[in-house]
Every structure is written in structure tokens, then in C-alpha cells.
């Protein structure tokens, strides 16, 4: 079937173009999933946010993810310019920040369970949103790990760095999702 689809496409299109378009389509479809989850907060608990929500932790997680986006971007720039040392350095830095973020979410869950368990309205929203997002972060860390091990011996160069670009794009997408989740869970107040 794949061959039939490929034959039906205009012959001048290269695989890179189709890969990139497909990735964008996937990201848009995943964004609609997050949009539905985020909007559910305003239906379930409207603008109510418990006082026990840790603002410091929320801000810390946000800073961590934003900085990780910069390191991911730098890894992509390094791969594009054939800078192998910096590619490896920034991919590892991004993964470490992702793991730290997951640890922060784990701590958030531990604390949240005491104050607003999943049986409460706000708890339902918090555990669902952070849970789904953390799963995305985890998949991003795995993807970056795969890219690191495949690219550490110079598999990606200036002419062939699409896998790095795709993994980094996924990481930025996860960051964009958090940009909306952060105010939704932590900052909005009645």
C-alpha cells in the first residue's frame, strides 16, 4: 500500500518534504488533544485554583523546560553545522533537564495527592494534564536518547540531520504545550 501511495504522489517531491509535512500534521493533531484537556479545566473547576498549589515548583518546571528548549535548539544548530561535540553536549543537557522535569512532576504528584487527590475536581485536572504531558516529555527523552546513540559517531551531518530536527521539534512541541498548561494549572485564579 505504501508503494501505491508513493506512486500516486507527484514525482518531484522528495522524502524530506513529505516527512516534515507529516510531522507538522501530527503535531497539530496532538495539539488538539492538549487543547481539549486544557479547556476541560475551565468546565470542571472554572477559575478556581487551591492555595496549596506550589507556585515555586510550577515556575521552576517552566524555567527548566524553557531552558531545555534552548539547549535542544542549540543541538539542532550544532548538527546542522557538523559540530559533533556540541551536538552531543546539548542533547545530553536537554535529556537531563527532561529527566529533572519528570522528577519535579513526580514530586508535584506526591504533594498534590495530600491536598487535592484525583477524586477532587482540581485534582482530576492536575493529574490528567501533568500525566499526559509527562508522558510526552518521557517519549521526548527516549527519542533524544535514540538520536544521541545513533548520532554520537557522526551519523548526522549538515546534509542529513532530519532525525535530529524531528526529535528537537517534538521537544519544542512539548515545551509549547507546557507554555499553556503552566498558567492553566498554576496561575489562573478566581
Amino acid at each position: 500500500m505504501t508503494t501505491a501511495v508513493r506512486k500516486a504522489l507527484p514525482q518531484g517531491l522528495d522524502t524530506g518534504t513529505m516527512n516534515r509535512l507529516g510531522l507538522w500534521l501530527f503535531l497539530v493533531s496532538d495539539a488538539s488533544f492538549f487543547l481539549a484537556l486544557i479547556s476541560s479545566r475551565f468546565f470542571v473547576v472554572r477559575l478556581e485554583t487551591p492555595e496549596d498549589v506550589s507556585q515555586i515548583l510550577g515556575l521552576g518546571l517552566t524555567i527548566l523546560l524553557l531552558v531545555s528548549s534552548l539547549t535542544a535548539y542549540r543541538a539542532e544548530v550544532a548538527a546542522e553545522h557538523g559540530d559533533q561535540a556540541n551536538f552531543k553536549r546539548y542533547i545530553i543537557a536537554t535529556m537531563l533537564m527532561g529527566i529533572l522535569f519528570l522528577g519535579g512532576v513526580g514530586f508535584e504528584w506526591h504533594e498534590a495527592y495530600k491536598h487535592f487527590p484525583p477524586s477532587t475536581g482540581y485534582g482530576t485536572i492536575l493529574f490528567t494534564l501533568t500525566g499526559v504531558h509527562a508522558t510526552h516529555v518521557f517519549s521526548g527523552v527516549l527519542l533524544l536518547g535514540f538520536i544521541y546513540f545513533k548520532g554520537k559517531n557522526g551519523a548526522y551531518g549538515p546534509d542529513d540531520y532530519y532525525p535530529v530536527e524531528a526529535a528537537v521539534k517534538w521537544w519544542h512541541f512539548v515545551d509549547v504545550a507546557w507554555v499553556f498548561i503552566y498558567p492553566t494549572l498554576y496561575l489562573v485564579q478566581i
Binding site: A4, K7, A8, P10, Q11, G12, L13, T17, M18, R20, L21, W24, L47, L59, T62, I63, L66, V67, S69, L70, A72, Y73, R74, V77, E80, H81, D83, K169, H172, F173, D175, V176, V179, F180, Y182, P183, Y186, L187, V188, Q189, I190
Partner: protein, 91 residues
Amino acid sequence: MAAETKSKALMRGNYVIVVLAVLTAIEFAIAVAMTGNLSATLLGIVALIKAALIIDYFMHFKQLWTFVAEVWYEMLDADPDDAPDDTRNAA
């Protein structure tokens, strides 16, 4: 991004992260200073600006239009006689 020099690309990343940090500080200040619908609306606007920065500068959103245009023009230029027989006779 291909034609861009490395130092220029790195510098652009630095600028973007500084603006994102400032916007996050503004976001926090809004949450401290006000509540209710106005606060929620302003927070939504700031989040949209932050997302736009990441999507445009880090995810190279502009390239999407190049790809869409490329696919579109290729489809317009495609010769129907080049299509494989199995797709034309599918119905």
C-alpha cells in the same frame, strides 16, 4: 535555517530565550497582581505570544509554507498521464 551562519542562529536562540524569560516574569506578575477573567485573558495572551516565539523561531514554522507551496506546485505540475494505472482504475 540551512543558509544561516552558526553564530547568527545561536544568537537568535539567545534572544528568544531572554524574551521568553521576560514574558514568564510578566506572566507571574499578572497572576500576583490580579485575579478573575481579566487575569485569565492576559495570561492567555502572554501564553500565545510565548508559544508563537517558540513555534516561529525554534520550530521554524515558516518552512511549513515552503513545503506546502512545494507540494501544491508539484501537484499542479503533475502530469495525469504519469499516474499509475491502479489509482485511475480504482473505482
